[in-house]
Amino acid sequence: MKKPNIFVWFMGLMGKRLPVYLLAVFVSTVGFAGSMIANAWLVKNVMTAAQTKETEGLLLTVVINFAVIVLSMFVWRFGIVRYNIEAKRGIARVEKRVFEKVLRLPVSYYENKHSGDFMSKLVYDMEKAGDIYGSRFRRLADAVLSTIIYAIPMFVLNWQLTLCLVSLSAFSLVVNGLFMKPMKTYGGKLSSKNTGLTQKLTNILSGMETIKIFPAGHKALEEYDIANEECYKVQKKTNYISAGLESINSMCDLLSSLAFLAVGVLFVSNNLANMGELTAIYTIYGSFRRVVLEVGKYIPQMMSCVANAERIYDFLALEEESKGYVEETTTDNRLAFSDNILSVKDVSYGYTEEREVLKDFSLEVKKGEFVAVTGQSGCGKSTLVKLILGFYPPKKGTFVLEGRSYRNMSYKEVRERIAYVPQEPYLFETTIAENIAFGKHDSIREASMDKIIEAAKAANAHEFIMKLPEGYNTVLGERGNTLSGGEKQRIAIARAVYKNVPLLLLDEATSALDNESERLVNEAIERLCEDRTTIMIAHRTSTIERADRVVAMG
């Protein structure tokens, strides 16, 4: 796919807001210009009065001028506020899309990318790209508009002379244009260095315990320092480039004054322009030069932000997890597994082309059965879980759930029918009640408290929850770190109970649980399994012994 113009694409992200936004930018520019013109006019009138000593009617003119200034200031403010509102909401819109995207990428993305990558995108790139809406575009548009506004009367006065002057300015613009590319390149470099920096920071924050207890943990800090230094170096290079640009612009400014004089002399002495025209053009040319300078200055600044927008583009262009997958390999459409809740037939899968973790694996699970899956680590137990949940499409083979092939179901439907308890329970930073309610609902508001308590009781979690000062409303900290391993596990089980579906998929915890905890967890699992079908990745002999059937993998 061909990449569109990033700037155009990014502005387009505003959607329906764009026309209002553009209009607001225009209004604010006009308002501001209005006040400047009224201001200049006022000064001119006073100066004329001082020269001619004629003060009649001056007061009225001053009052009118002042009124115009105030009025145009309010027009300006109206424009500024409106455009800012549109910009802020526009940014919010893009942020939402970025987040929507990260929730919907294939599972392999999260396994291959550092979480710092995305965080940097959301915090750093988004902020810089948002500057396009927030300030960069308006400044540039303002300067371009003003350039045109100033150029028109100049052209009307004497187009030949103006053409000469404009082409001089155009030259400085071309020079500025040469800086566009390096600025964009360095904007991109800076962004990737920042991603690295955020990664190192994430490492430090998540590995704090290790860093504290091992003196060598300070390596993580050194790594941050190195990344920080790299970031600084790129920033420094960027500074040199933009300094070069700035100095060229200031040179052009003085040169163009000189050029004006030379061109003016040339034109007047050749009778191509008269003194009056020249004087008039001269007064406007000062402002014209200033805004052209601004155009030159703002374009490269904008390009640096466009580099960040491009990263957002690349991110949004990533392929999302498909809604479901379509198998090509087999036309075997026999769905005669009526009393089997899940059939896995001849499934192969490998993370890389060369190494197949699963090879022609088949498994039939009857309704109400308790199946324990065992095997050495690395034999593909966890992969099987992920395939059943549709985290990856299999290379080959069929899955049939409740008589329907995965090919006829969306992943969403598949996942709706399976209650999954992962090996390491993950609890979100919200209340315990909501963590359980997440089993079926999008928020606590849709859930019934009675059902939540029921689920917690079934999971043997109710008692310890009630011992907490805030009970079910206890807000869990990051990674649920105030609870013990067993407690977390039981909340995760309560979540699965709350989901209340016929098929349970459990990845037994390998991490340490004490006896009592394990008893409580096992009891909960047993209760959970009662009238349901259970597939359990088992590590413990006690679990394996309890199963109706043991499937050894590998």
Partner: protein, 580 residues
Amino acid sequence: MVDKRNKKNIFWETGVKHGGLLVVYIISAIIINVAVIAGNDYLARATDTFIAGEAVDFKSLFVPITVLIVVGTIMTYIKSVSGNNYSAKVQRDVKGKIVSRLVHLPYKYYDEKGTGSIMTKLVSDINEVGRFFSEVMPELIIDLAIVVTVTVYLLNMDVWLVLVLYATYPLLLYAADVLSKRLTSVVKKRRNSIDMRTQVAFDAIQGIEVVRSYNLENAMQKKINYYIDDVAEQGCKSTKITSMGYVLRHTMNTIPVVLCYMFALYETIQGRMTTGDMLAFSILLKRIVWPLGNIVFCVNDIRELNVALNRVQEIYAQEIEESGTHTYSKQELSNIAVKWDNVTFSYDGERDVLRGMSFEIKAGQTVAFAGGSGEGKSTVFKLLCGFYRKNGGDYSLFGHSFEDWEIGAARECFSYVSQNVFLFPQTIWENVAFGKVEASKEEVIEACKGANIHEFIMGLPNGYDTMVGERGVRLSGGERQRLSIARAFLKDAPILLLDEPTAAVDAGTEELLQEAIERISVGKTVIIIAHRLSTIQNADRIFVVDKGVVAEAGTHNELLASDGIYSVMHGEEVAGYEET
């Protein structure tokens, strides 16, 4: 040595350290001002004479203009580089200082603030800070310089003019102050919402497997949308305030200017001022009006940026974890490795986890903590390492009060072995090498062999270069435990904290693990958190933890004989086995 509490302002420190660049910036900015103004004056005069109908002497113009162009160009370059590098340097140093401080902060800080907030501060707020140093502050200084010089000049011309000019400024200052105060509260709210947004995003990514398997995408989206919208709304509010400030500034700027003109006009008509004077005055006025307004409304900018500055400073000023100053030589260490006397602790000040815990562990002993879930066994480890500080009681480490120990030296005494160790998203090399400063490859391999994990590692496609952690190979609990043993081998600390694995990983792995643990335990004080009583029967001493105190202590046999909690637990465990 890190200062315990930092009263110093991090920005002041770093800002002054690189102050040389700022001086260069200001000097070059002043030279540019002079040069550009002089150059333009030259040209303007020449243009004026030309427009007045006289011939222009290009030759006489050529040399000064060329000089000015060269000076202006060079100075602009210097100014730009020095200003931007100044800001970049300050940012770099602030980031470095903050991060090196992060590891010295007490655990409580992280529990309260969360990763999102710290991340936003170091990625986003720091950018704002950069803007302060590259734009706001230098501009403010230059504006001040201009205003002062021009005012002095004007004072020489006409004192009354200056009075008229400044007459409305108190009002303007007042207005700016009122607005900026309102702005501060809005900006603070906005920043907090940004923290929350980052936090929610981080949470969702960390828990993506659960998000997926429970179809929680919409739930997460709703959550973050709430904060994203709030950030936008607070942004809109702050725009309304700042834009009001701009309007005020322009209007209020215009009033004194108009008044000044009228006044000057009056003076001129009265004959007290010449037209030439008035012309000069109007030129100067033009030059001073903008900086004047800027200075006043810099207050707005500064207040806004101050929110960001304060947020970063807040980390810096945070009290770091308590630490004594003593390090002890081997001869100074007593043979009582750990002694607790009536130690109490609570995470939140409400739920007491430890309610007066006492025990004594001799050097070289192997002891175990047993007891129910949530009774505070893991908390004991956290307190031993000083991750959290006890609320009451005494804790001495090798005969010295823990409070006297330099915290780093105290931690040198402990190795921690667990299945739940955090693995950095890096290679196995790097992860194991955390055990020792400047560990060589041979040492790492030796340690891994000792931990019985070498063979496993060699079996991985990339061997020791295999990536682990959040991206890369997912290791099982047993493998992680053995990696943590390898780290412990490298560290070779006198006390080994062992978070017992569950009995059954799988038979083969179990054996490897036990062997490794035995090997690492030789000659060490071993403190075990036991989850199964069967594995600790040989311990020199077992502490049974119940309701936050050591309820029983003794050897396996003694405890069984005493017929207490331990024997009940033991009975349950045995029954549990027989049942299956």
